[in-house]
């Protein structure tokens, strides 16, 4: 263990690749997100649609363990809807008064229950690959939401001569260009309750928006508080400056 850590560290030290290389070097498809910029905020309807995609598709393989079921109310699910989602999966609890551990349906206070009991079980079900938890995905990759968008839209046929591994799929932006996840998005994959047309582009934007909310639920509070803070500081600094001018008036 010690030796392997040292050698791999030394190797990384010597051969480290730049972040651009790490993300496959491919050009990311930059999107205009509703939360971009100083005044940006989430589009609630979009988050709810994105949640639908996550729930129906991604959550079969990926966890979202930093988000609690109660948090789903923030994006427009009703108390009943959130409770129903929580109850879809079971979690271990206990011990009860008899001293036994038992399984019970999820509750609002639980964090999103992962689809697999542990990493090993997840790998067995996914051809040896581990579907990472998506709670922080848009913060954990260079390019953030644009990367995740480009990844989901970046599946294509492997170019001539590209050696694709067993069970692997060609992807334009994934590092190394082959990923163990099959293409997930296609037109009309889900039927939106609000009548929005479910094109592949729309589905992807929606699910990435939802994931960005999952990673940065504080974003809206942060930006609005930021604006007030900046205005306050501008006034304060202007006052300090005026005072400075006044006090220093006679110094030559």
């Amino acid at each position: 263990m010690l030796r392997s850590v040292i050698t791999s560290a030394a190797l990384a030290l010597a051969l480290g690749a730049s972040p651009a290389l790490a993300s496959g070097g491919a050009h990311l498809d930059k999107q205009a997100w509703s939360w971009d910029g100083v005044f940006g905020s989430y589009d609630k309807a979009q988050l709810k649609r994105g949640y639908q995609v996550f729930h129906d598709v991604c959550s079969n393989c990926h966890g979202l363990k930093l988000v609690a079921y109660r948090n789903l109310k923030e994006i427009g699910l009703s108390e009943e809807e959130a409770k129903a989602v929580a109850a879809e999966r079971e979690t271990k609890d206990g011990p009860n008064d008899e001293g036994d551990m038992f399984n019970r349906p999820g509750k609002l206070s639980d964090r999103y229950i992962s689809p697999f009991a542990n990493d090993q079980a997840a790998r067995v079900a996914n051809n040896g690959a581990l579907p990472p938890d998506l709670s922080l995905m848009t913060k954990a990759r260079v390019g953030g939401p644009d990367y995740v968008y480009s990844l989901l839209m970046g599946f294509a046929d492997a170019p001539e001569g590209f050696k694709l591994g067993d069970g692997m799929n060609y992807n334009k932006v994934f590092p190394g260009n082959q990923i163990a996840m099959a293409p997930q998005i296609s037109d009309d994959l889900v039927t939106y309750a609000d009548g929005t047309k479910a094109t592949a582009d729309q589905l992807t934007k929606d699910v990435v928006s939802f994931l960005n909310w999952a990673a940065e639920p504080e974003l809206e509070v942060r930006k609005s508080m930021g604006l007030k803070t900046m205005i306050f500081l501008l006034v304060l600094t202007a006052l300090f400056y005026a005072l400075k001018r006044k006090i220093w008036k006679d110094v030559h």
């Binding site: 990384a12 730049s18 972040p19 942060r222 604006l227 006090i247």
Partner: protein
């Protein structure tokens, strides 16, 4: 120190028993400060301000943080999501570290340009360097606490450097880790030390200020004040100027905290630490990059480590390496150019430090490392002897009066 007369009875009563107010009076109201300090002199008080922010946010973070490998990452995310304004605390602390370093770097280069390290301020300069070293250690250990991929691998790479020490190297590394790999004991001791060191820094800052108030502030002209016409009391002149600086500082700092909180961070640190998966690119925080470049410029591991530590240690000898009697770069026509070249060289090193050690980056890094040491060890000693400085003004007031006329 003659005790000032206090009118307030309570203040007088206290001051006769413990001279708190006398000390305060001497170090603010009546502390004579050169009247010609420019805005580069604001960065000392800004660094202190940043330190206070770090300690205040850090103490509250520590109330909610869990120092265990199985919980550290999630506890930080709990702070981000469930603790009231936890995201603000954490982003203030995270970006505060970067801004602390920005202030200190400007402060150091201010000193380099204006020759602030020269007699009688050598010990003041040393104390500053000790603060800088303690900051590097503190920030390094703080970065390990959230236990993301970069936390883990950064800690592994940096602690591994000590294995280059002959004979006892591996023993030192095992001792630092508290085991045979970076693991829970490492995280625990880093948390403990991360809590301790900022207070050591605070003590060093106190000594730094005692030394400052003994030798007094230098100034852009680099000539000592000749009398009361050259100085003004610190309060209210510099208190208000420093406050104005704090306002501008906060505007920039808060801009990052609220609108680009992860600008200085690495996305990889939002992936929980995993000893089995090495990230493709291990980079330290930006403030270490120049030293990381020096480390990698030397093909030999031990040599690299010596060069890296040497790059800071050599600064302790600066008061004697720089042989010029003239302090301020303003009156040193040749030094001025070398100063800007040196600054550019440090930026170049920082840029190289963030690049992989391959291709052209290697010779560029080596050339920049060479110049770093060449400037300090050869150029500065020679310049003082060869360069003909401009005529110094008679006093601080003299040129000011002339400029006004």
């Amino acid at each position: 120190m003659s005790a000032p007369a206090f009118n307030n009875k309570i203040i007088k009563w206290i001051d006769e028993r413990i001279p708190l107010f006398t000390v305060l009076e001497h170090s603010t109201s009546s502390y004579p400060t050169p009247k010609n300090l420019n805005y580069w002199w604001n960065f000392g008080s800004l660094a202190l301000f940043a330190l206070v922010i770090m300690i205040m946010t850090g103490i509250v973070l520590a109330m909610n943080y869990t120092g265990h490998t199985s919980m550290a990452f999630d506890s930080v995310e709990r702070i981000m999501r469930d603790v009231n304004y936890g995201w603000l605390l954490r982003y203030l602390h995270m970006n505060g570290a970067s801004f602390f370093f920005i202030c200190v770097y400007v402060h150091i280069f201010r000193g380099l340009y204006y020759g602030s390290y020269k007699a009688p301020r050598e010990i003041l300069w040393w104390l500053g360097l000790l603060i800088y070293l303690a900051m590097m250690a503190t920030a390094f250990m703080g970065y390990v606490l959230p236990w993301g991929q970069m936390s883990f691998w950064g800690a592994t790479v940096i602690t591994n450097l000590f294995s280059a020490v002959p004979v006892v190297g591996n023993f030192i590394v095992t001792w630092l880790w508290g085991g045979f790999a970076v693991d829970n004991p490492t995280l625990n001791r880093f948390f403990s030390l991360h809590y301790l060191l900022p207070f050591v820094i605070f003590a060093l800052v106190f000594l730094h200020l005692v030394a400052l108030h003994t030798s007094k502030s230098s100034n852009p002209l680099g000539i000592e004040p000749k009398g009361p016409q050259d100085t003004i009391p610190f309060h209210p002149y510099y208190t208000i100027k420093d406050l104005y600086g704090v306002g501008v500082f906060l505007l920039v700092f808060m801009g990052f905290v609220f609108y680009a909180p992860n600008f200085f961070g690495e996305p990889d640190n939002y992936i929980p630490a995993n000893p089995m998966v090495t990230p493709p690119h291990i980079v330290p925080e930006w403030y270490y990059l120049p030293f990381y470049a020096i480390l990698r410029a030397i093909p030999d591991k031990l040599g690299g480590v010596i060069a890296m530590f040497g790059a800071i240690l050599v600064l302790f000898a600066l008061p004697w390496l720089d042989s010029s009697k003239v302090k301020s770069g303003r009156f040193r026509p040749v030094f001025k150019w070398f100063f800007w070249l040196f600054l550019a060289d440090c930026f170049l090193l920082g840029w190289i430090g963030g690049k992989p050690a391959e291709g052209n980056y290697i010779p560029i890094g080596q050339a920049a490392t060479f110049w770093y040491f060449f400037h300090l060890l050869v150029v500065l000693p020679l310049l003082g002897r060869l360069e003909k400085p401009l005529a110094l003004p008679a006093s601080i007031s003299a040129p000011v009066l002339k400029e006004k006329a």
